[in-house]
Subunit: 216 residues, 2 copies
């Protein structure tokens, strides 16, 4: 498959790009094409150093999505709307994976869902032509970027399109040891989105770090 | 300590009573005193059969709380208000542990929090004289009742009184392998309460059972 990772120069983007590049063509997307190309080059080097052949290219967000079957939205909630407007001309029926968590920080992080109930549903309403699937909110980027690490943790996947969810489930299995779980409809994404600020706060309170979640 | 378990004839009540009876006096509370005494007798037998000395008695909910330092509310949300009214004359400054999750079932379970934001906060507002601590929502009763089992899972503890939270943290450590985690203020209980219907739904969707949660 061809996978565009938008906000792909961030660390979650790096982790997903490197993990998926073993079997897929990756397009790292950014507003800044040079930054995207540099990042893509860096990720390629990491894999080449390990003797892994891969194809990772950098592009503008729009170009990345134009080429892709699957697009990953890995940007802050506030940045998502401008990004979506920029992508609109090239959106058709791609699978769009939302990692987005609307939250604010005062003393602690707080989940701040939109009127629609969660970010994933909000995005689906804005771009009904694509199939939004919600996943990967609670994967630690440090763990994801450490390619030697088998990640103990579950990824809950929410979405309204069964086939799109299946694709994301299979992509999830490619991340070693991570278990994909069906979280139900896109509206259920509220729960997994709201876990993110909760996990960050709990890590701080308990002297832990990089918390993910596992259902046991 | 003296611990009253209200709704103590239910299976979560059974599990907590048997696990804590190794070090504490347990009062199993019920609206029906005979049922409470029968349950207490059954739990005692289980422990005696294992060569464990214990003191577990049955009583009315009110009598149980009258004797106790810690009272566990292990009843359905709908039943909590009548229970609280009945307890009111004997409440002073006990620690009250709320396991309560307001939820309803249509096709799937849905979290239905009160106006206050969560059940624990609602209860604290109703009985400000006690110290409400929220915990144990996501322990599988099957695992808890199987006394041979070390339970792999975390218990998130929320509350506004530091000392009361400390007591519940120590009680949690007595359940083998379970890890207590500080979940913050009582208002944060919303997150752990809402996990319960989510876990039940996810278990059903994924062919799993008795799901708890572990932060990894």
């Amino acid at each position: 498959m061809k996978i565009a990772i938008l906000g792909g120069t961030g660390r979650i983007g790096e982790g997903l790009a490197c993990r998926w590049a073993l079997r897929h063509e990756i397009y790292v997307g950014s507003r800044d094409v040079d930054k995207a190309k540099n990042a893509a080059c860096g990720y390629s080097c990491q894999l080449t150093d390990r003797g892994i052949e891969c194809r990772i290219d950098g592009a503008s967000n729009k170009e990345a999505v134009e080429k892709a079957d699957v697009a990953v939205l890995s940007v802050p909630y506030e940045a998502a709307f401008e990004l979506i407007e920029c992508l609109r001309p090239v959106l058709k029926n791609q699978i769009v994976i939302s990692l987005i968590v609307p939250m604010k920080k005062n003393k602690w992080f707080e989940y701040t869902p939109p009127e629609e109930g969660c970010a994933a549903l909000h995005i689906q309403h804005l771009i009904p032509e694509v199939k939004v699937v919600s996943a990967y909110h609670n994967l630690s980027y440090r763990k994801l970027c450490n390619l030697d690490l088998e990640i103990e943790g579950d990824v809950v996947i929410c979405g309204d399109d069964v086939d799109a969810k299946h694709v994301v489930t299979e992509l999830t299995r490619e991340i070693r040891r991570v278990r994909p779980l069906d979280g139900g409809h896109l509206s259920e994404s509220r729960m997994i989105e709201s876990l993110t600020p909760f996990l960050i706060n709990m890590a701080t309170r308990n002297g832990l770090s990089d918390l993910g979640v596992k259902f046991v």
